[in-house]
Symmetry: C2
Subunit: 441 residues, 2 copies
């Protein structure tokens, strides 16, 4: 599931029957900053997020990890506020904060009582333009990141498999490079690199402010103009220069065999369109294909592999379409004891082929759509989820309308469309498989 | 064998017993152009080569194929000479010409009667600084390259496997990108791209002039100063910015299954040091490992797989160390009918492990060194080979002395050193395997 930057969050908006959804307002400040306001009057708190339209896939050559490293350095002080002060203020106000870097964006957020929104904006606007940290903090913070990588990847065979699988799937596009960066390139990142990157990408034109909570658009606008509005425009949004992934006529298998592995595991990934690269409505069909094929214990793969053939202890599929460039469709399964990963992979191939040969039943289609509706309702129940949904969608170039219409577009997908994307991308596509094994074969 | 830019040429120089080798002279013009003169008095001809220290691995992001495309455009005219004139002159003088692009360099050469060397230099110096072609030639020439790619790769499963194997081996370094470029990026190359690339890399500081033949250094110097010497220096050599390839804890397998395939085939590649990235003398030990393990029909792999176990109809290994960055060690074999590629791969693994367990015999070591000496003698017999040897070595940053001392360094390698690199890179390394199959499994 490593590929899903927002684990567990399916990009959903309003209920399909109320296309308007929440009464979301969007406007743009004079300096180019886009503002999205999502009303949520249930509790007197606000979620304040700033999204930058740059992620690890925008890291310059030889500087992998710089987006994530800069995310760390954003907590290291500005001309006005020393390192740590912003975090201390959030904590003293009883708030929460976080930040994350993904392939296509970087985001910062706080959740506080609504009367403190202005304070959050002041601090966040301050570090949008006034970041200033000493050379002295760079080395230790780089060590923190290196240690993070060591802990998360270098000692974890599953993470090593994920990295190798991504690299095998995306041989040219930077989605094949880990978000955290390659160890030896992280080691070389300097203060100058970070500041050059910051100056290039941290601009009002490149940012999206999302405020969800117990507050109206007028009040948000007034506060935003007082704070973010004072940052000078740069004239234009920084360019994102992404290579396109070639389609190789080659299936690929990546194997990590390590004595630390206790449960063998199989992953498959297929290169597919994202919501931004799709022709027609393929991305919506892929969402439902993921659900029908591998969403939960009523799915085709679970029923076939776990219940009927009894070759797996778990099985599923997923698709995360909210990507700027080519996405992937994933299948995963863990074999029962005694079943080889090769045999499991063959069984998956057979199950997928049989499913596509028979097509999607009305019952499966309706159940999948119903599950999406349920997830939407769940998403709407969470202020942070809604804020993330709008932020991530807008950060890859979708509009508020795209988010609002998403459920209708899902609802309009037919069984034939699901079968068509399955045939085109799974049957005719070249799988990239990852094998996690307890020892070297 | 696709990885070997100079197919069949082992980088060798003088005989190991005469370390001085041919009386090679090297000097640098005031504008930074390095000149190498290799005397060869046997026939009254000269080989004239210009090497640029830029190859496909220096292609800028999103511009894969530009080095090769520019090589094509270098024949499309200058301010002084229209398209095709240089080639016509070479032909009218009874000469030969060629050009090639590799990962680390691009080179142009002519072979003519010695009295025409000055004319060659005039033309070659002219297109080093005065390239000028119309927009009108760019589209058709791009079509030529696209057709070249279609013919060579898109319709050839073996070439598709090579590309996919390179991409799987080099997940980060541009050696994983085909020299000719990815189809969709070639399609986007423009006149401006080509001219920007030309201005950046085609400078006297970045070039190496190699003249081999019936001519003395003084005469070459005088001619070079009159021609190349008139090109203004740029101040410094263009920077080569290459990422380093991470070492993944993952074995990889790439499969191309296509009905056009008649003979199944297996390739393996291991990431190893090149002559430029080696610690100690590993590159020299790898040269001999390639020879002992897989050079010809007396090699370990041929004897074990073809003659003894009878699982293969051919088997071999190779190493080409003349690379600026991480090289690879290759093993290849074609199975007998009825033997699967999986079984063949297992047999290779066993043969390599058994060989490394027993070590290199004195006889094997001596035979390998003798073969290298024989190849050296052969190389010295060819003016063009010698010129290529010096040009390719200097283009990756080696010195004339490195080339001259190469045989001594090979001669000094011990059996233990060969075993050590085998254990380090083949036994403990992670293989990247390529399977070429007649149909989809």
């Amino acid at each position: 599931m490593r590929f899903r930057p927002l684990a567990g969050l399916t990009p959903v908006a309003s209920s399909p029957t109320t296309a308007g959804g929440p009464d979301v307002t969007s406007f743009t400040l004079d300096n180019g900053l886009v503002v999205v306001v999502i009303p949520d009057r249930r509790v007197p708190v606000v979620t304040h997020m700033v999204w930058y339209r740059n992620g690890s896939a925008d890291d310059p050559p030889l500087k992998s990890g710089i987006a994530h490293f800069l995310e760390h350095l954003m907590f290291k002080g500005t001309d006005k506020h020393p390192a740590g002060e912003f975090s201390q203020v959030v904590a003293s106000l009883g708030g929460q904060e976080n930040a994350f870097t993904s392939y296509d964006y970087t985001a910062y957020f706080q959740r506080v009582a609504k009367e403190h929104l202005g304070t959050m904006m002041e601090f966040e606007a301050d570090r949008m333009s006034g970041l200033s940290f000493d050379e002295a903090v760079v080395g230790p913070e780089r060590d923190v990141v290196l240690e993070e990588r060591r802990m998360r990847v270098e000692t974890d065979p599953g993470a090593q498999l994920s990295e190798a699988l991504s690299a095998a799937l995306y041989v040219h596009h930077p989605y094949g490079t880990p978000i955290i960066g390659w160890m030896h390139e992280i080691e070389g990142l300097t203060r100058d690199d970070a500041l050059a990157y910051y100056r290039r990408f941290y601009t009002p034109e490149n940012a999206i402010l999302v405020v969800a909570g117990d507050i109206g658009a007028d009040e948000v606008r007034a506060l935003a103009e007082e704070t973010y509005g004072r940052i000078a425009a740069r004239g234009e949004r920084p360019e994102r220069r992404r290579p396109r992934e070639p389609v190789l006529n080659a299936s690929r298998r990546v194997t990590v065999a390590d004595e630390k592995v206790e449960q063998p595991y199989l992953q498959q990934a297929f290169l597919v369109p994202s919501s931004r690269t799709q022709e027609g409505s393929e991305s919506y069909a892929l969402e439902l294909l993921g659900e029908v094929l591998g969403g939960g214990q009523t799915s085709v793969l679970y029923r076939t592999l776990v219940l009927e053939k009894e070759v797996a202890v778990s099985a599923g599929a997923y698709y995360y379409g909210t990507m700027l460039d080519a996405a992937h469709f994933g299948i995963h399964a863990a074999p029962r004891p005694g079943v080889t990963l090769e045999a499991l992979e063959a069984a998956i191939g057979e199950a997928v082929a049989q499913f596509l040969a028979r097509g999607v039943t009305t019952e499966e289609l309706e159940r999948a759509k119903t599950r999406f509706v349920a997830e939407m309702v769940y998403a709407q129940d969470s202020q942070a989820h809604l804020a993330r949904l709008y932020g991530s969608s807008l950060a890859i170039g979708e509009s508020v309308e795209d988010v609002v219409l998403w459920p209708q577009r899902i609802e309009a997908v037919t069984a034939d469309e699901i079968r068509a994307v399955g045939e085109r991308y799974l049957l005719k596509g070249r799988p990239v498989s990852g094998y996690l094994e307890p020892h070297r074969a």
